[in-house]
Symmetry: C2
Amino acid sequence: MMIDPGVMAVLASPRRSEILRLVWDRELAAGDIHRAMPDVTFGAISLQLRQLAEAGLVEVRAESRNRYYRARKETAGELGQILERMWSSALWRLKLAAELEEGRRGPRPGRRTTNSRQRRRKKP
Amino acid sequence: MMIDPGVMAVLASPRRSEILRLVWDRELAAGDIHRAMPDVTFGAISLQLRQLAEAGLVEVRAESRNRYYRARKETAGELGQILERMWSSALWRLKLAAELEEGRRGPRPGRRTTNSRQRRRKKP
DNA sequence: ATTATAGTTTAGTTTTATCTAAATTAATTC
DNA sequence: GAATTAATTTAGATAAAACTAAACTATAAT
């Protein structure tokens, strides 16, 4: 099978590969994904989902007001198998458990912006 | 075999994966690598080589004033096999040929900075 | 029709990565 | 030991990626 060079770049982002992991063998609504990663805004998740979709790594199904995402494993090809093994490895599970613990203690300090000044308000 | 999650991130950069390709099955001095990629400075190449070395994807051998780099295929693991097949594919060779042609016509316009103001001069 | 919910898009900000130029280090040659 | 060559390191600049807040779109519920 041919490997799209773009796929690796898309998967290199921890955020995106984490999203892909979430929808790897089940369908999740955009909101479900956001609830699983509450350290970023819904908008940010939506943008990453768009990138994944543009790379052909996920597909969408609209139902009522929800949009359900699921991985397209075919696109990931051999890389997908590597990821699968990675995610099922003991070390990876340990990492996930640690992050879950960390998450319980409150929002992550790392990435959040401290002062978010007021901005543009289009239609007052 | 265990896959280091950092490896994928390192390889996601086209610049670094190109360097890795160059030293995949032969040793090259840092300067050789730079001559093969004259669109960036020697310093930039050196920095990328450092990242590759830190990820364990290349090893160095010092001889006289040269430093010879070569890939450590073991670290790349299965990803390495994917890369190998990618590089040997017809499409990839076509891409390389196109870039070589482009390179002959002069320096790439894409990334270069237009105005590089004067800066810090430590010991005048 | 209004309100609420789910999600996307937009525009600007922040963060991170990559790059350049100069300084620096070290070995080699003269 | 001065000059040259090969490479690394440093400090700042620039570009790219990721993110935020708000605006916007669409469907569903009241």
